[in-house]
């Protein structure tokens, strides 16, 4: 088990046989740093889920479910081990960026910002990455329905 299990603000959990750590925004960076030092040197994936349409989801006791969840997948090459962090984020809140620990999250955090509108403090270049820069809205939010809004064209008079 990773060293971070005993840390303050961490709830360990098992999901389908995979290690999951629920972290709080206060412990998030510290946990990632502690895991980095214990061998989880690669941040393979960072994504988010919008639980707006599923507020009654099951979370372990001690975790307050919020609208968004940032999901970070860390990999330890030396121990051949994976761990997943889940951080609850309320609408409008920002999250500390992992860029200083894991530079690989640069594009991933931009994608999460683009798709969900979650802001990352300390990110060097937080701009849209997949959508055009003048796009309205964040497509992967659950209240952003498919086909509900007219197609937007860059530079066209609206």
């Amino acid at each position: 088990m990773p060293v971070a299990v005993g840390m303050q603000g961490v709830v360990a959990h098992e999901s389908n046989g995979q290690q999951v750590l629920f972290v709080e925004d206060t412990s998030y960076l510290a946990v990632v740093t502690a895991l980095y030092e214990s061998g989880f040197t690669m941040c393979v994936d960072l994504t988010a889920v919008d639980y707006l349409a599923n507020p009654a989801r099951v979370v372990p006791s001690g975790v307050v479910a919020r609208r968004f969840e940032v999901v970070v997948n860390l990999l330890s090459i030396t121990d051949r081990e994976r761990v997943r962090l889940r951080l609850q984020v309320a609408d409008g809140d920002s999250v500390p960026s992992l860029f200083d620990v894991h530079p690989s999250t640069e594009a991933m955090e931009r994608e999460v910002f683009d798709m969900f509108g979650i802001r990352f403090d300390g990110h060097p270049d937080l701009t849209r990455i997949l959508m055009p820069e003048d796009w309205d809205g964040h497509p992967l939010r659950k209240d952003y329905a498919q086909g509900r809004i007219p197609v937007q064209f860059k530079g066209a008079a609206s």
Partner: protein, 446 residues
């Protein structure tokens, strides 16, 4: 919708995605941008005298490479700041092929999802389907019950797909460097593999053949002969291409020492696949976190030593041979039995039963219209695709469509290596560097 638009509009005034000219940005912002490009923190970037050594504004210029450049493998756009022929800064700008596939995945059932994910990395569609199916099976709790034959068949298709993908890499890499004959040969050999896929799945690409629970159909009669013909034909031709390219000083000069990346940089950038292995780290999920039946076959993980474009080319070249070695063992060990799980919840009744049983007809209809319900939970499954670690994160709310379906695309992450590999290199080498990353833009943008 109106409330969201109001808040979202405020959140999108983030400015352009483009690489800004030095004139437009302050020294501090330049530092931060260079830090982003170098993947270093601001303080570490400031310590680099190279960054501080000011280039006169009138000595550098920013040019666009792409999105329509033939050697950017689709619609990758690079903004390069050049001083003469030297690349000072580079920023990849992506999104031109973004079609919202993750959003689409939220409205397709788990059975339909395969048609969606297979179009992401269109050069290795079967690996995409495989990782999506494995994630779904893990959520269903049936990942331990997949029949032996289904697993070996999945492995066979996955390895043949690796071969076809790497053969296409040889083609595009050859064309980018100027070996146009290699382009023709690579496409031709890939087509031989695709012909086998067409016979098995009915389609050359975008098969939707690997499905949750197993596969869509059994292997057709005579498949063994087709695979053997492929395995007998390729070694001689590969040996020929090796002479054609490795034996050519121009080829070696164009690749050796170009686009170098070190071990720590590759790990920091989460590069996987041939890029990570080119630095000497023997990391292959097939061996290090085995899935399917990779424990039972014998193969080597090919690694490089220099982390340059030549190593990445050589690794892919030799991985074709390793895949052929695996395929030969699969031919020997292929068991008989079911090609999909006999679980009525997931598997539709066989075609023959539909004609004689009303219940089977209803069941078949239900599975293909409503789909099957998947228990609430979330899971991340990763496998080794030709380009690196492809992962699938699915969060389910207990219904028959994924609540959230995210694909960790290896190309999306690997493209981040570009600014680093190009820095200080020549603009002509930029083409070789892009080619050695082997990005598939369908997967980068999803």
């Amino acid at each position: 919708m109106t409330t969201i638009d109001a808040s979202a509009g405020a959140a999108t005034s983030e400015g352009g995605q483009e690489l800004k000219s030095r004139r437009e940005i302050s020294q501090k912002a330049l530092m931060r941008e260079a830090g982003a490009v170098l993947r270093m923190s601001e303080s570490a970037a400031a310590a680099l005298s190279e960054v501080q050594g000011d280039v006169g504004e009138d000595q550098s210029m920013i040019i666009n490479m792409g999105p329509q450049h033939p050697s950017t493998h689709g619609v990758l756009r690079l903004m390069l700041e050049l001083q003469g022929e030297t690349v000072l800064r580079c920023k990849p700008i992506i999104g031109y092929l973004h079609t919202g596939m993750e959003k689409t995945g939220e409205s397709l059932t788990f059975l339909q999802g395969g048609t969606n994910v297979t179009r992401m990395d269109y050069l290795s569609p079967l690996n995409n389907e495989l990782v999506f199916s494995m994630a779904t099976e893990k959520l269903l709790g049936i990942d331990g019950d997949i029949p032996e034959r289904a697993q070996w068949m999945r492995m066979l298709l996955s390895e043949l797909n690796r071969m076809s993908s790497h053969l296409l890499f040889l083609a595009t890499n050859g064309m980018d460097i100027g070996a146009v004959s290699m382009m023709l040969y690579g496409w031709r050999e890939r087509e031989e593999v695709l012909r086998f896929f067409q016979k098995v799945t009915g389609l050359r690409m975008n098969h939707n053949f690997i499905r949750p629970g197993g596969l869509a159909a059994d292997l057709p009669a005579g498949w063994r002969d087709d695979v053997l013909r492929l395995l007998d034909m390729l070694p001689d031709r590969l040996a020929e291409y090796e002479i054609l390219m490795n034996g050519q000083p121009i080829w070696r000069e164009r690749l050796q020492g170009v686009g170098v990346i070190t071990q720590s940089e590759a790990i920091a950038l989460a590069a996987t696949g041939p890029i990570l292995r080119s630095t000497g780290i023997a990391w292959d999920l097939r061996r290090d976190m085995p899935y399917l039946k990779y424990r039972e076959v014998d193969f080597d993980v090919v690694v490089g030593a220099h982390g340059d474009a030549y190593d990445r080319y050589a690794i892919r070249f030799n991985e074709i041979r390793e895949s052929m070695r695996i395929v030969r063992q699969i031919l020997e060990k292929m068991p008989s039995g079911d090609f999909r799980i006999q679980n009525k919840k997931v598997t539709p009744p066989p075609r023959g039963r539909i004609d004689e049983s009303m219940e089977a007809l209803i069941h078949h209809f239900k599975i293909f219209t409503e789909g099957f319900k998947v228990p609430e939970g979330e899971v991340y499954v990763a496998i080794e695709s030709p380009r690196g670690e492809i992962g699938c994160y699915i969060a389910s709310d207990g219904s028959s469509v994924p609540y959230r379906m995210h694909v960790r695309a290896p190309s999306f992450v690997n493209v981040q290596c570009l600014p680093h590999m190009m820095r200080g290199g020549l603009v002509a080498d930029a083409v070789a560097v892009i080619s050695s990353i082997d990005p598939v833009l369908g997967e980068v943008d999803r």
